[in-house]
């Protein structure tokens, strides 16, 4: 780990500590305090882990697109590392969203999976960002890798609005967006707390991953001993 990264442990601890504390509170409220939903009963409590993971996957992938654009504009390696760290972290949240969604689908729809627009676009998005990480492994030259990844990172972000709006644009098994007006306050509270918990944890994941990528890049740029 470089000297610069070791200067910031307090910030990382604060972010991680806030995320873990909020997660503990959100999980307690979601599992034990919030009431069961009228139609779905207790199975609706899956929302408190499924929806935040889906939201934060989109936020992480949006970060990839933004920092990819910044890299293409400035050619600053730091932006490439943040874009990469965001893509890898978003892929983890995306996988979590897909898996918890399948667990929710079985008792409510009767099937683990349906080729419904929202589910299909979410799976395509997941595969697009797995391909992003694969692309980076296939290119050896650092600058070419960063440039190709940035272009691809912006291209892959086309999937974000398709995923976000698909349940509203298409006829879908998946319910349309809930809004603060359509969700009871007792359910909004744990959902919001867990969303912020996931946000803090996502920031910590990206931060840690960024440090590792920056250290890897420093090693790559060091000439081998004569």
């Amino acid at each position: 780990m470089s000297a610069e990264s070791t200067k910031r442990p307090l910030g990382q601890w604060l972010v991680l500590g806030t995320g873990v504390t909020l997660l503990g509170l959100g999980e307690y409220l979601g599992l034990f305090w919030a009431p069961p939903e009228m139609a779905m009963g207790d199975v609706m409590r899956i929302i408190y882990v499924h929806v935040p993971s889906g939201w934060l996957a989109l936020v992480a992938f949006l970060s990839t697109a933004i920092f990819s654009g910044l890299y293409l504009r400035t050619k600053t390696p730091r932006y490439d590392h943040i874009a990469d760290a965001s893509a890898k972290t978003g892929t983890v949240f995306n996988a979590m969203s897909l898996a918890t969604g399948m667990i929710w689908a079985k008792p409510t729809w009767g099937v683990w999976w349906s080729w419904d627009p929202r589910l299909s676009f979410t799976l395509i998005m997941f595969l697009l960002y797995v391909a992003y990480s694969a692309l980076r492994r296939f290119v050896d030259d650092t600058e070419s890798r960063a440039r190709w990844a940035a272009v691809y990172g912006i291209f892959a972000s086309v999937s974000l609005p398709l995923v976000y709006y698909s349940a509203n644009w298409f006829r879908s098994l998946h319910q349309p967006h809930s809004t603060p007006q359509t969700v009871d306050a007792s359910m909004k509270l744990p959902l919001r707390i867990n969303a912020f918990a996931f946000l803090f944890l996502m920031i910590w994941f990206i931060w840690r991953r960024y440090e590792l990528l920056r250290a890897d890049a420093a090693h790559e740029s060091t000439p081998p001993p004569a």
């Binding site: 780990m1 991680l16 997660l23 999980e27 599992l31 069961p36 009228m38 779905m40 009963g41 207790d42 199975v43 409590r45 899956i46 408190y48 882990v49 499924h50 993971s53 972290t89 983890v92 996988a95 979590m96 898996a99 918890t100 667990i103 929710w104 079985k106 008792p107 944890l201 910590w204 994941f205 840690r208 991953r209 590792l212 250290a215 890897d216 090693h219 790559e220 060091t222």
Partner: protein, 52 residues
């Protein structure tokens, strides 16, 4: 909605046997999977060493 009694053992049995009537099994499974993913990824980032 009548509250359904549940236990961890019952939740595991529901998931394991595929009994769909008891929904708490799915709730526990989804939350356990989510938390395990967050914990696992966090630990991976802590123990992972940079190249070289």
């Amino acid at each position: 909605m009548v509250a359904q009694p549940y236990t961890l053992l019952g939740a595991a049995a529901e998931v394991g046997s595929g009994v769909l009537e008891g929904h708490w099994g799915f709730v526990w499974a989804a939350h356990a999977l989510g938390l395990a993913t967050l914990l696992g990824y966090g630990l991976y980032l802590v123990v992972k060493k940079p190249k070289g």
